[in-house]
Symmetry: D4
Subunit: 220 residues, 8 copies
């Protein structure tokens, strides 16, 4: 892989026939893969011999094809979510990073309307090189966390909410317009993208310990 | 006044001739008035005999015509703002309430990206029956305060910011979509409206002490 | 509760499993709760022992878990709606206030296109400390009422309508841009939020009779 | 004219040179014309011999070239406006109809937030075959009038207002989504268009008295 | 009726129970009514004794309750549509006018991309006092017709189309921004509203023949 | 040039210093260039020795640097515009094609509201391999022409208009949603882009006469 | 056909009854036709004797009625797509051109995120007079290809994607705002329109070889 | 600083008086600061004794107050821009990082429409732990680079362009909807924010070499 991030199969918008062809091809190559946006109903329609190789999670709609990830070491990415309605997106982030053998730590239901619940976690969150912040509706959580933790922050706005929440647009714009400096943002509900962004940073951090690699840069 | 709120003269969009005619008519009736959105440049073009009766504030662009307000008693409305760029709107709220003889207390530059500055004020803010919350950009302040203070909360989104802040639309939507329960919102930059909303509530609270008035309702 | 408003369980967007877990936990704590956006179909899938404790209203999609509210005294909040299509939102307001033991009075189908029907109610509505105004489509009702009644006004725009009604956006914007001074607004279809806003004001009014509490403020 | 409505010269967006060429051509043909959106500053730059033939109105930015209109008979179009900020658009309607020799009657500053002022005029307004309703901001006036008068109603939304008034979009959408049946609407600030729409209707009404013309239709 | 237009029952968004209650009340009063947006599926669920009194049209989703309209005289409103996909909206216009005993003439599938088909009808259309123009997608038909016929023109944009047609917004805006002078417009898909607008004009035209009525105005 | 289209210098958004540097560099290479969006005011601030080599057109804001184009042969691109307000964009198209030595023919002020003026030109326009259609406001011209001429059609929407014309968005969407088959569209006011699109087609047509070139394709 | 492009039957939004009537009429005339947006489910409901004459493709939802196309010669239009989710739109382009007896060549899954896959095809693509570029999501493919190939480029944005992809709006705007000169664009998902645009160009190219036809223009 | 990023003074939207007060306070504390969005015209109005301490850059509108940065070591952040019109935003990124003593490397005018210019830089760009990608208009550069370099990518959309470029919204959405995995995005024109995001990553990378710090995480 040219960029150190394995491409995933986005199942939404593909016909059953297209998915089967992709899995056939993977099986023929003895290759493993990450599948995203795979509904349980679609999974049930796949041939049994493919289903047997698939580890599927219904909440996050992700699946591992022919691979059991083994994250090792301490968690290096924290995933923090405002509400329990954001669990599908949290799951997509965690399962994507797990597939890349990166361990994560998850903190859920700490929306800013109950600030005291969030504040209990701040000291711990300050230790992480990367924090993924998941929030819908007003999207105020990134602004508060952004002023409290020093690590890289990847904001994942979700489509949770109704009315002016506008399917995630308000949460997206709030994260982008935040007065907390240095927040970065991915597309609405793009848990896979948030995980890949975290992965790019974690890989840079890992290379930093190895002389002669780009991040440490001493070798040049 | 049928609704206990004096109508103000919105000067923006009126020609000099229209403004002079209104002031002539007020002077003829020996009436006082609140003027909003009155630019210093427009003020300078008004006839001297009208200017002499005008108490103008350049930052909030408000003016009192032929009246010196006397707010008495303790402040009953708190006005809390995220940034120092929100001073024009804060001023419009405070000057409108002052004109109605309502005392206010102001707390500025307590945006959530510097949470500790805000938290110093929370106990004090919990004492007010009404809190006006002024914020632009991401508009996260209402959500945080909304979870911490019990009084009525009137959110005043401001057009501060650029890009996706979209002239206040993001702050407006964030306040409306907030997960903190019971926030209310007025139009972008509408300091006059936020003050009138606070006034309606304060008047209801004041009537509550007087038996036979609507709020206490015991007389019915 | 730090803010005097009990948090509700928003059922929309939660899986059956999540809802059961929440009810189990409430039952274990012998706690009661308000549930919103609970569809009859979802209710039917819940375990019988939970259903037995639930008082559900199909129109407003609200439910009381293990609690029978007892509003006492005269109604202190009026809920006024433009059309009979707004009944679900009216119901969410009324049922939330009832749960908080606040009595309400409801006036429906008084849209401004039939002005004479509305005018019959104005004298009565002028007595309330808080009026919640529910309107979709063009959202003209708040502007008319706002010029006629002195109490606090909370506008609840609804998603009723089609074409440029844009799922409530036009009603929302009309309330926010109203020339009637001092209207406040909540998110489209957010009956729960409108009720909580009314509750914050009613609580402030109630405290006003008690010396030493924030609203009367004499004790300071 | 194929459609009984004389085309006007829209001066906005034309260079001085283009305008002079058009006036030269009119003068050569000894033709008269209506000019719209003609700023006083542009007028001042035109050649003296053209200026001498122009009757210009600064508020409405309209001009009559080489023609003195003579409206005869009773007014057949009423022009009703919510606020005094809407005078430029009111003027464009009135001056266009006047140019077509149609008499008008104007009622201004009767926005619905002061409903009693509007109600004084309703009986009179019920007599007109066409009422043009001019309103910005929340645009509630058309909905109220639409339920009270039987004539044809042409709504002219204006760009008056700020924030969510969105340069007239809210007033436009409120008129289009109105629950009052049978309102029609023209583009924001298009006073010329509203007048032409009224003219088409008045012409149809006038033809109705004449046997053998389309409107009465008896001749067919 | 204060405005000469009978209010219709908009069935969309009403529960079966609400509809039955309305029909019960109509039957009790021996009143007839026009119902709009009534799906065949909803109709089938109504009680047999109500269904027996209903004349339903599936394409336009309109129904007459306990009334057989008798339009007399020559057609006075022409309804012109761009494509055959606009038939539901054409039907709503025609059936509403028919209910008001106004005869109509319909011309369909004359979109401007096949200009020659449209041009065959122009001479005939020039005879009508009112022309309703129905068009979705690019909405070019009103601009072309507006330059060719002298009668009042009511544009009815439809939600036909996809992509940038944006559920009728492009057709709506094209009609409003048309360079043909004096077009008027109603909400997207609002066939009922277009018919009511035509009705207001036809009524004004009809009154014109009768001395002492508003339109002729000679009596004043 | 890899694509047969010479890149132009877009002067808008460039500082004087940047422009001078670009011209210096061109002069050093003895290269000629097309400049677009060059205001007369900016031109006046350039050094005299550069100005001497520039052929500037104020209406289209285009300039030829050190080159006198020589279009030869009959015009192969027709440029058709709805209104005289569209002349700047027409000019940008014509001057860009002229720079590429392609002759053009221009037809202006043939908007569809005056259909008969347009129809006079149709037979002639049917002869061109490429027609560029320039229109703002409602953008109805492309739909009408698209049904009448067989050549390739490039629509150039302009920002002419106000209100819902939305700076060209309505004209853009009308062209894209047109029911006339096979229209293509470029960005609002992008006369340079429309000319380049025409050029790509003309080059393909020219290559068609030459065996062994891509367009005729016989050589493969 | 006046414009050399056969009109197709757009089946979406037509009732079964309308479709049958159209096919009956075609059969009566012994005419063939192209049908677009024809779902397999709708096809199954058509009468057997019509189905027997229909060649349907489920992915592209296109059908040929009573005609077997015979594209001859080398492919003259290349259809290039970013992802395999764009196959329905690719199919609509290819099948429409095939129906017009124009041969095509298809290159799929060459999105710019995997640039090396695209670059392998560039030399070949440079030979085509017309390239149709199909892309959703970020729509970056047209900008890259536009700088590499000299032929006419017709961009077909697709509704593939979620969140800010906004049903194709981002891909549409990216193609229109591209810095590659001379790209043209059709409506989102309008494969039929893209094919017709290509056809207009191919027809112009074909006429170029024939003296006395418009494109070569030598005969004039 | 709690988050390792020094807060900057955003000068846009502040009055001269507010700016002087801020600088006075900094001088009193002998503190240095970064100022952004400081126009040359505003700078000229500041008191001479403050101006003497200010290092201002007109293109990026940034200023260093009382501090001379000393970036040491090799560049660790690459800043890549599509066009020369993006220089102000490039400057804001570079000057902010320089102020934080982080060395940068800049590559400008490598938009994807001239792909070969970009490809020359790819191997070099693959060495950086962080790449900031600056692009307006269609915003295609991030998608192309995102598939070619492994480091963390921070996209900075700019407001360059016109029409559907919509002041940067298209570039913003293209970056967010990109099919290249793991791109992160900041607000339109927010060069300061992009630099702070890069700084958070670089700090994490730097801490990685030091045992017991969060990033390496071995100490826990
Ligand atoms: N700053 C302001 N923002 C919003 N509304 C205002 C403001 N100042 C005055 N108003 C209201 O605007 C209206 C002024 O209308 P008029 O002066 O008649 O054009 C009144 O209803 C005022 O209460
Ligand atoms: N109908 C409703 N509309 C808006 N917010 C609601 C509604 N019902 C409950 N809530 C709030 O939504 C949140 C529920 O979050 P949770 O149950 O933790 O997902 C709480 O803050 C409630 O106060
Ligand atoms: N104020 C106005 N608003 C809208 N359209 C106008 C206005 N004044 C003139 N027009 C129309 O705009 C067109 C003027 O076009 P032209 O003068 O040829 O650019 C004519 O169709 C007029 O009828
Ligand atoms: N008027 C114009 N509209 C759109 N693009 C243009 C225009 N003029 C020049 N261009 C293109 O803009 C780019 C110029 O970029 P620059 O390097 O900033 O000069 C080139 O790709 C030109 O082909
Ligand atoms: Mg919660
Ligand atoms: Mg600050
Ligand atoms: Mg009703
Ligand atoms: Mg007024
Ligand atoms: Mg047709
Ligand atoms: Mg013209
Ligand atoms: Mg792929
Ligand atoms: Mg360049």
């Amino acid at each position: 892989e040219r960029i150190g991030v394995e491409e995933a199969i986005l199942c939404a918008g593909k016909s059953d026939a297209q998915l089967v062809a992709i899995l056939d091809e993977l099986a023929a190559r003895a290759a493993s893969a990450l599948l995203t946006r795979l509904d349980a109903a679609v999974l049930d329609r796949l041939p049994e011999h493919h289903r047997a190789r698939i580890d599927h999670d219904a909440v996050s709609r992700t699946a591992y094809f022919d691979r059991t990830p083994r994250p090792d070491g301490l968690p290096s990415v924290a995933v923090v979510a405002a509400g329990s309605s954001d669990m599908p997106q949290v799951g997509e982030v965690v399962r994507t990073l797990t597939y890349a053998d990166v361990a994560t730590e998850t903190v859920v239901d700490v929306g800013v309307a109950g600030l005291w619940r969030l504040l209990e976690h701040v000291e711990r969150l300050r230790e992480f090189p990367v924090v993924v912040v998941v929030a819908g509706m007003d999207g105020a959580l990134p602004s508060v966390l952004g002023g409290l933790v020093p690590g890289a922050i990847v904001c994942l706005p979700t489509s949770t909410g109704y009315g002016v929440a506008r399917d995630g647009e308000t949460a997206l714009h709030a994260a982008l317009a935040s007065c907390a400096p240095g927040l970065t943002v991915v597309n609405i509900d793009n848990g896979y993208g948030a995980a890949c962004a975290a992965l790019r940073i974690i890989r840079a951090v890992q290379r930093a310990g190895v002389p002669g690699t780009p991040d440490g840069r001493p070798a040049r």
